[in-house]
Symmetry: C2
């Protein structure tokens, strides 16, 4: 793909971009501030730039006059890059020089894992699904060869495909005789590999081996994600609406929605409390299944695949979510000593749970480790390849809970900290999950305090997702608008900060520029929630490391998983003290790690044993009454941390920022 060089003036910052890339996006990724508060939806008209030279496709917008357009004034959000460009940023958008310098000389600073990289996280596997189809042509019975229909079929599968010792689901036998004869003894058998061997689960007329699909689901406390996979193919399929992140690799379609249980409690504890009410467990089971069914409907609609062609389902979730899905009373998960009912769940037929899939579809449920370290974490360790590398790795899954795993191919230890659902949008006034219209990238001009925001799908903003939240708080801190306790400075000359009904707040997007008919703001309470969340996670990591006599600097790799959207900015996550200050190249962001694992397992039956090994190998450390956890948590309730020595670069940058700000003040 051809690359183009963009030079921004003033400052002469140069970046290399891909053909056709969006100019506003490119600027954001380079750390170049251009005012933009409609998320890139061409509504606010604020992202005007002066195109000095070069080829770009950029239609005229009503917010630019004909005179401006003739002079080369364009909206950055409408500009596609088709050649080297010289771009001048207007005064009101410019960031001071010191900031530009601090960004370093990289052309892009996002640490995202590209699809091919995720593919390479786990080595040595091939497409060989646990649920597969085999076509056989059988010799019709004769007087001399009148074995039973089932024996004829299983003999045929053994002779033609070398699959022996097949047991049969009773439901298959029901219609077998008729199907064999109506199909003239040419049929496709669907088999599943269980812990006990091969099981015949479906027989169809003719050759349908090319149509073999799986649905994988990650049941998060806040958000449920689903994907539909073509089990014959691991070819990357482009997502139609441009929302793909790395984790959509192999999926024909992806859909997600809030877990319907949210109405009955924000986190696992409140859900468990609700489950103890009369009819509560049943209700929670029903609503989670209802969300899953909605997602399946959407996946089938998007992929245009018929429901009857789904052969398998793989589900991962935390222990409470898994027990609620299975209608297993989670009461004792909440009571000390925190005992789950079962870590290894036998395969369940999807229809048995109320999931609207054909009755032969078995559901593989990822095994769990402890009451607060569930199948989603086991799936993440599988999907990210931690289980097969020597590298000492810290795996962090940041969802409603924060689960952290430390180890490598030989040992694994875990902790869980109730981080709260801030990153998934809950507990944040305008928080939403990473969906179309979510503000996912934010920059703030250090002088004017004007925001530059980008939304998922470049539509008018409807709220702010996890990565946008981190970006905003980091930007507010960087611009000196909040102090290390997360409180707004009251002395700034800007109408972007105001006192709202919930206390002080920053206006990210004004009513006219949003899709929600009101201002989108971030409040001090939101910031406090974020600080609490990041403190719990950081403290959890620290205690886990210390429990095995290690420190952050001993880590060789840190894998970040979570439903942040595509654009978690690692530097900003470090900046607020969510992640430890390590070399940026040591971090890998894998998006939804749980979904990564479910998908991998769908494609490779050999990984079932590895999955069980992971679950058995992991040792869980309970933080609830750990002697040092609470101290560590309190110490982390600061931006970035009360221990400045743990974040030397961040502290230095804040110092420079302050200095720059003072200089600006002197200048103005």
């Amino acid at each position: 793909m051809p690359k183009h060089l963009i030079t921004f003036h003033p400052g002469e910052k140069k970046i290399s971009v891909n053909e056709g890339e969006n100019l506003l996006q490119a600027a954001m990724e380079a750390g170049i501030h251009i005012n933009a508060s409609c998320g890139g939806s061409a509504t606010c008209g604020k992202c005007k730039i002066h195109l000095l030279q070069g080829m770009a496709d950029s239609p005229k917008h009503p917010k630019t006059t004909q005179q401006e357009y003739d002079q080369g004034i364009r909206l950055a959000c409408l500009t596609s890059i088709h050649g080297d460009l010289d771009v001048e940023i207007p005064l009101e958008s410019q960031v001071d020089k010191s900031v530009l310098q601090l960004k370093g000389d990289r052309t892009a600073h996002k640490y995202l894992l590209a699809p091919q990289d995720i593919y390479q996280l786990v080595q040595g596997w091939e497409v060989d699904p646990a649920v597969f189809k085999k076509y056989v042509q059988l010799a019709p019975p004769t007087q001399k060869d009148n074995m039973s229909d089932l024996t004829r079929l299983t003999n045929g599968l053994e002779r033609h495909h070398g699959i022996g010792g097949i047991s049969s689901d009773f439901r298959v036998i029901m219609k077998l005789s008729r199907i064999l004869r109506e199909s003239d003894w040419k049929v496709t058998a669907t088999l599943v590999l269980t812990r006990k061997g091969y099981k015949l689960i479906k027989v169809e007329p003719g050759d349908t081996t090319r149509q073999n699909y799986s649905i994988v689901v990650d049941i998060g406390t806040t958000t449920i994600y689903g994907q539909i996979l073509d089990l014959n193919s691991c070819v990357v399929v482009a997502c139609p609406d441009g929302q793909c992140d790395g984790t959509t690799l192999f999926a024909l379609a992806e859909a997600s929605d809030y877990n319907g249980q949210i109405s009955y409690g924000e986190d696992v504890i409140t859900r468990i409390v609700y489950s103890q009410k009369p009819g509560g467990l049943k209700k929670l089971q029903e609503v989670v299944v209802s969300t899953i069914n909605k997602i399946i409907d959407e996946l089938l609609e998007m992929s245009k695949i018929d429901r009857s062609l789904i052969s398998h389902m793989v589900i991962a979730g935390n222990t409470t979510m898994t027990q609620l899905l299975l209608d297993l009373d989670p009461k004792f998960i909440r009571e000390a000593p925190y005992v789950p009912t079962a870590n290894f769940i036998p395969p369940v037929r999807a229809i048995h749970l109320g999931i609207d899939l054909p009755d032969h579809v078995h559901t593989y449920i990822f095994p769990m480790v402890a009451s607060y370290v569930g199948g989603d974490i086991v799936a993440g360790i599988l999907g990210s390849g931690v289980f097969q590398r020597e590298t000492l790795t810290l795996y962090m899954d940041i969802g409603t809970n924060g689960e952290i795993v430390l180890g490598n191919k030989d040992w694994l230890a875990s902790v869980s900290c109730s981080a709260g659902p801030a990153f998934e949008g809950a507990g944040i006034k305008f928080g939403i999950r990473a969906t179309r219209g979510a503000i996912e990238e934010v920059n703030i001009n250090h002088r004017t305090y004007e925001p530059m925001i980008l939304t998922i799908g470049r539509t008018k903003p409807i709220g702010i997702c996890g990565s946008g939240l981190i970006d905003t708080v980091a930007a507010l801190l960087e611009a000196g608008m909040i102090d290390p306790n997360g409180k707004f400075r009251r002395d700034l000359q800007t109408d972007r900060i105001r006192k709202g009904p919930d206390g002080y707040e920053y206006i990210l997007a004004k009513k006219g520029e949003t899709a929600v008919q009101e201002d989108i703001v971030l409040t001090e309470i939101d910031i406090e929630n974020l600080i609490r969340t990041k403190a719990a996670i950081y403290a959890g990591c620290k205690v886990l490391l210390e429990s095995v006599g290690l420190r952050f600097k001993d880590l060789e790799q840190v894998i970040i998983a979570g439903g942040f959207g595509r654009h978690l900015d690692l530097e900003k996550a470090i900046f607020i003290g969510l992640l430890p200050e390590l070399d940026i190249d040591q971090f890998i962001f894998v998006g939804n790690g749980s979904l990564l694992g479910t998908r991998l397992l769908s494609f490779s039956k050999n990984l079932i044993k590895e999955t069980e090994r992971i679950a058995l190998m992991m040792t869980n450390l309970e933080l609830s009454n750990h002697p040092t956890f609470m101290n560590e948590f309190v110490a982390a309730m600061f931006l970035p941390h009360t221990d400045a020595s743990a974040f030397p670069q961040v502290i230095e940058r804040l110092r420079q920022m302050k200095k720059g700000e003072q200089e600006l003040r002197v200048m103005s």
Copy 2:
């Protein structure tokens, strides 16, 4: 048990009997004729004898006058033997001398297998059921030991009982957490051994290991038998109503009923035809389950065992009965080349079939061999020990179909002949199954043509069962009342033979002596049906033997199975040509062989593999288009057979009978 010597006068025939035995029964078993046409129910008053000497308990009956009673006249049916007796039989009851001599000198001529003999048919097994209970006391979880509840339980089972690799039924997991805590971590686990290993199917509070019951069912085309077993005990339990035959060994209770499907067709073919009508298959499935449920209700009522304590179910039936039970379309069983849907059926939950047992109860279905050699035959081969002996054995199961197996521990071959349900009461005017009130033993006075009949339970007769039918036809033939074609002689001076609405018939019991308010008769059509049945079975045996180059005389053992009641008289079965003329000691009668096998399998899990080996080892020969079968069948449509050389002793006896009759005529 003390023995007593009975001497009958005139004739001085001596027999040895047990203390307390009934005199009429003892006479019958010795071949001594005493007129009796109410089945031993003390109604007809015909079985008067003169007690010359000895101790007997025999109350006065209204049909004897005080004067007669004072002289020593008693009703044989009311007489219990308590010492050596001298008994005079009145003139009208006596049988001529030649008949007495022909009976030989044995004291009893019934070849029944006593319970301890059936127990010894299969060697080297011990009580070790496939479904068993284990009690465990678990250590309650602590913060340091908070593994999942399921892991705690399976670890406990492994540690305390050495049972590893347990998989779990999902339904067990559902209530596990609560049961473990409510029972203070003391529970009883029910496990089942499947082809794939041990599976946990139930967890109960406390120690319930002593309460572990199984229900076994033999689904016959005409009759369904069920038994309830105490899996902890193979102690013989006496049957309360005196109806026990050998097959009730180990059973706490036994119940039986006509298969409700009879209303939809008399044999498997008409059932299959019915199953092809709209809703037919569903109807047949429902009615057989309804019969099974009725039998289960009865078993639970009789044994006073709570339904919830049933842990296992074992079912055997012919292939059509099995497919109908399982709702498997039997269409192709009937169409050449006669292919069943499946011979090996995976374990099915009873409740899934509509059987009213707790939802953890798995049903083991005996594997089948071919469309007309089913699980009942495999069960019979198991239960009778053929599979483990060197002895060349012919196993004959005579039910609605006649299935015949030839072989030993190394090889097995089978045929099936559609014999018709005569022996189970269907197709016979007053035919009933072997139940209370069924005429099961019959003798006829050669001079007066008066009958001596005994019923099951010694109640007024309601009909005639299989053994009674054989006895009657043998007696009619022996007394020269029918010719070898089964037609009544028209010239006899007796009101016992008459022309009825269906042609000529013999009156076994007159209206006043029966419980059905009408005469109980045997018609010429009934006899024709019997001849057809016995011809099919005999011809089947012959063709099977010839197919492997053997003849009847090569046989070392013949095992007869069938629901005849307790009193199949082997000599009479040979006399009519149903069984080949071999030494009487070569025959074993095992009663319901299918039930024998289901029961054995319930008690011993090691026999599951043997069962599968039997089913796989058996080679089936199709008779339907066999070149010589039809000739053999036609040749056998004669009493005993057109080939007199095959039945030399029977022919000789008939000759002597005829001679004796001529002498009697001369004398009178």
